[in-house]
């Protein structure tokens, strides 16, 4: 099987990841932050190491502001529902994944908040202007994706962060598709809530995610429970990260995530991006020359993400991915949990087939994929 579904989750993981996870069952099998014996302390230290690595990777100074979540969606829900109050207004983009759209829409349906959708433009300054034009007196937050999981369009996060600073808004950045391939500067860009998955381009196991926020102590909690601290109190501890981490954390996943992030650090975020874009470029130019294939976005080095949507004329996206699956290629078809993005691009009725590149893909694999798409589309 040749895997081009890295936008859903990366595969394979670096060998050191499963090895570290397996080892964790023996070396870090105790509950971190609950007991005082040697293994519990060693496990707590390992978990702390992962927080430190995440804080460093995303340029945030306070290690305790790194919160482990189940996934990116969980992190986004913690930030949105912990921050927004009755009457608040939020601006999202027209490229959002359901991880942002659904919680925002749900809160709006319940009458708690209102939201507007900014149109992402090909020009970054026009995109920022589109967000700015929607700001109201009660706007509290801009919550947007850093890059489309369907069309690979990257939003100008740094400029949106600056816009938020100018208007006193909170900035939530969904970095599920960018963390690990784009250098994200939480402190420099003024990101109030960085939400990301651990299992995509950070190469950790599924079931891991991160919320990095300097505003954690001010959040209302969406889940309460044991933390191993302040346990005589009926209220959640006020201090981070315990305030937002109820129940035992996913130690094995966290150990794997640590190794995944170390892999990213060692390879280098920019080098990983260049590698993936080189392969994506090869695919893009091959597909562009096929009359039976429809593409929806240009591929711009330094701006696009290594994610490309296409359709074979006369076939549904799922038919295309099924045919490719029969030939041993793993791609995803459908709406990719992003109906707004498909409405924007006019693909809501048929969806798209998506090629998403990872660190372990090769040019040779890309050539074989293109050959197969050519046969299907002929």
């Amino acid at each position: 099987m040749i895997y081009f579904d890295n936008g859903a989750t990366t595969y394979p993981k670096p060998k050191r990841v499963p090895k570290a996870v397996e080892n964790a069952f023996y070396e870090y099998g105790a509950n971190p932050g609950r007991s005082g014996h040697e293994m519990a302390m060693q496990t707590a230290l390992k978990v702390y190491e992962c927080r430190e690595t995440a804080a460093s990777l995303f340029h945030h100074t306070e290690v305790e502001n790194v919160v482990f979540s189940l996934n990116c969606t969980h992190a986004i829900n913690m930030a949105l529902k912990g921050t927004l109050r009755w009457g608040d207004h939020v601006i999202i983009s027209d490229l959002e994944h359901n991880s942002v759209l659904r919680p925002v829409h749900c809160m709006a349906q319940r009458g708690a908040i209102t939201y507007s959708v900014a149109t992402v433009q090909s020009d970054d300054d026009e995109t920022v202007a589109a967000f700015e034009s929607l700001i109201r007196p009660n706007t509290r937050m801009i919550a947007c994706t850093h890059g489309s999981n369907v069309f690979g369009i990257r939003l100008p996060a740094e400029k949106i962060g600056a816009l938020c600073r100018r208007h006193g808004l909170l900035f939530l950045l969904d970095a599920a598709q960018t963390a690990g391939i784009v250098d994200i500067d939480v402190d420099g860009w003024g990101v109030a809530f960085l939400c990301t998955a651990g299992h995509k381009s950070l190469y950790g196991p599924t079931g891991t995610g991160l919320l990095i926020t300097p505003f954690g102590e001010a959040l209302e909690t969406i889940m309460e429970g044991g933390t191993g601290s302040y346990s005589a109190y009926y209220d959640m501890p006020p201090d981070m990260p315990d305030h937002l981490e109820s129940g035992t954390v996913n130690t094995m996943g966290i150990v794997g995530l640590l190794e995944g992030m170390r892999f990213v650090e060692e390879k280098g975020v920019d080098a990983l991006y260049r590698h993936e874009m080189e392969i994506m470029g090869l695919v893009y130019h091959a597909l562009k020359s096929m009359p039976g294939v429809e593409l929806y976005t240009p591929l711009v080095a330094g701006k696009s993400l290594p994610v490309l949507s296409f359709n074979v004329r006369g076939k549904s996206s799922e038919e295309t991915t099924d045919l490719l699956s029969e030939k041993g290629f793993a791609l995803r078809g459908g709406l990719h949990c992003a109906p707004l993005a498909h409405k924007k691009m006019g693909t809501i009725n048929m969806g798209t087939a998506r090629i998403s590149v990872g660190a372990f893909n090769t040019k040779e694999q890309a050539t074989r994929l293109c050959d197969e798409i050519k046969k299907i589309s002929a």
């Binding site: 932050g33 707590a44 290690v63 305790e64 191993g228 302040y230 346990s231 990260p241």
Partner: protein, 71 residues
């Protein structure tokens, strides 16, 4: 050796504090605390030599690490 324990808010802060004190030449040990359990519940802190307590307290406070109590 006469030792004191600086109670901190969590195991995460205890690890951060231990690293910080180490950088400032103060040795400390992370301990699970059972004293005053009725007041604060379970928790963690750093055991340091009593002669280092005031300096340690100053370093932690100036770094934004909240000290719950010294026992």
């Amino acid at each position: 050796m006469d030792r004191a324990v600086i109670r901190l808010t969590s195991v995460t802060y205890s690890i951060r504090a231990q690293k910080l004190l180490g950088q400032n030449g103060i040795r400390s040990y992370i301990k699970r605390l059972s004293k005053n359990i009725n007041a604060h519940g379970c928790g963690y802190g750093l055991e340091v030599e009593r002669q280092d307590v005031q300096r340690a307290y100053g370093i932690l406070s100036s770094s934004g690490i909240r000290v719950v109590e010294i026992v």
